[in-house]
Symmetry: C2
Subunit: 244 residues, 2 copies
Amino acid sequence: MITSPTSTTSRLDQGMAGRIGDTLRLVAEALPVQRRVLHAGDSVYQAGQPFKSLYIVNSGFFKMVNSSAEGREQLVGLHFRGDWLGLDGIADGRYACDAVAMDTGEIWSIRYDALLQAASQTPALLSMLHCAMSREIAREQQSVLSLCSLPAEARVAGFLRYWAETLADRGLRTDQITLRMTRAEIGNYLGMTLETVSRALSRLARGDVIRFAEKSRRDICIPQVEALTRFMQGDLGTPATPLH
Amino acid sequence: MITSPTSTTSRLDQGMAGRIGDTLRLVAEALPVQRRVLHAGDSVYQAGQPFKSLYIVNSGFFKMVNSSAEGREQLVGLHFRGDWLGLDGIADGRYACDAVAMDTGEIWSIRYDALLQAASQTPALLSMLHCAMSREIAREQQSVLSLCSLPAEARVAGFLRYWAETLADRGLRTDQITLRMTRAEIGNYLGMTLETVSRALSRLARGDVIRFAEKSRRDICIPQVEALTRFMQGDLGTPATPLH
DNA sequence: CGAAAGATTGAGATATTTCAACTGCGGTGG
DNA sequence: CCACCGCAGTTGAAATATCTCAATCTTTCG
């Protein structure tokens, strides 16, 4: 996933891809980093464990699963190369979610106390941490917006766009993406059933907004990302109450 | 709202109420703080404005409104005494939402650069900032969980419980709460229509989980918070797809 | 007091879920 | 090698939660 070279994305995206690379480089040279390779299903940490370290995704991708007391499992976030994990654990000293690998990948772990100490020498480290947290907050706000105000099909379109943007940010090609998630996982993340996800994808394909690859209906071709955006708006949804 | 003395809440809550007071005190003495009084409808800052400062709620309460490009307005967060605002602006240098007062209240503003500088002298400041961001992330994860996995009525119950806990954390009484929001605002926040909110509240009242005050149906009496929790579970909802 | 905004409630419309049948695919073991 | 099983996905039809629309009532405020 991370091995692919830069591609059809515009030169502007280099900024983002560059930032991610710089982050990893800076962390690696300013701090003692412990690297660990995980396989699909392995967990980086589990909800409730005492918080000591933050983690950075070097490769692969990861899901954050919040298991409520009553046993329901909710996928509350996805994380890719350059993303930080475990930020939700700082506040009360325990991680709030399970972080689980969805594919083979490498995780770097950094002790939080070591990070703070190093940050006093290298302010850029602190800056990066704050940006990561801030981005996470803004991203989750987007999730809430989408969950509250878009009908199911538009949420699926938004999800695909999000995935494509994520790849673009990392300098990867976005015209052909491979969702490494089952329909059930996508549905769980988007607050709908797997059947609804399936139907939404089928309709997007019928409308030629996306196309399925020959084999494996997890490979999705997105000729133009703007088509997804247009679709989300065209599906003019106002299910949530307008504010005034 | 903030003036009420400690009350029926247990001694354990003092920790949280104390933390909030300590936070405000520490910030005030370690930093140049600019105080501003706002009235209902006034905005602390608006989406898109260049990020320079963070804000702390000293009194009153505030909503974060994310206005999507297409003009839909979504309430993505509520903030009370001791909460930090503007954290979503750090990452890309602009605030992502409007922050709007829902009542008369006082906001403290702190320049981000000044905060970072002061933090190098006073590590506790940094700690507080990180806790605030981490708490915000964890809180939003809860929102997503609730939106995805609970039916409407349970979300309303969860909302009331959240509000009660927020008051408890601040050392205020929780048996009698005043929602300073219209049904439309609550519905917008919870991803449902105002009618559904109204019906849910009516049913909660009919089931004696809550009680309305004599006048003003915004004053709600919550005899026991656990009843809300029990109700949320009893309303055993699994609308979102189970993960496996 | 009267107007405007907020809230409640009912009944029909609709999006999404649920349940069920069917397909394709990959592995596994006889 | 093939039969078989289980998992992922698709699709249809019925069930249901929520929304929409509309009427009515209450509260607030100038």
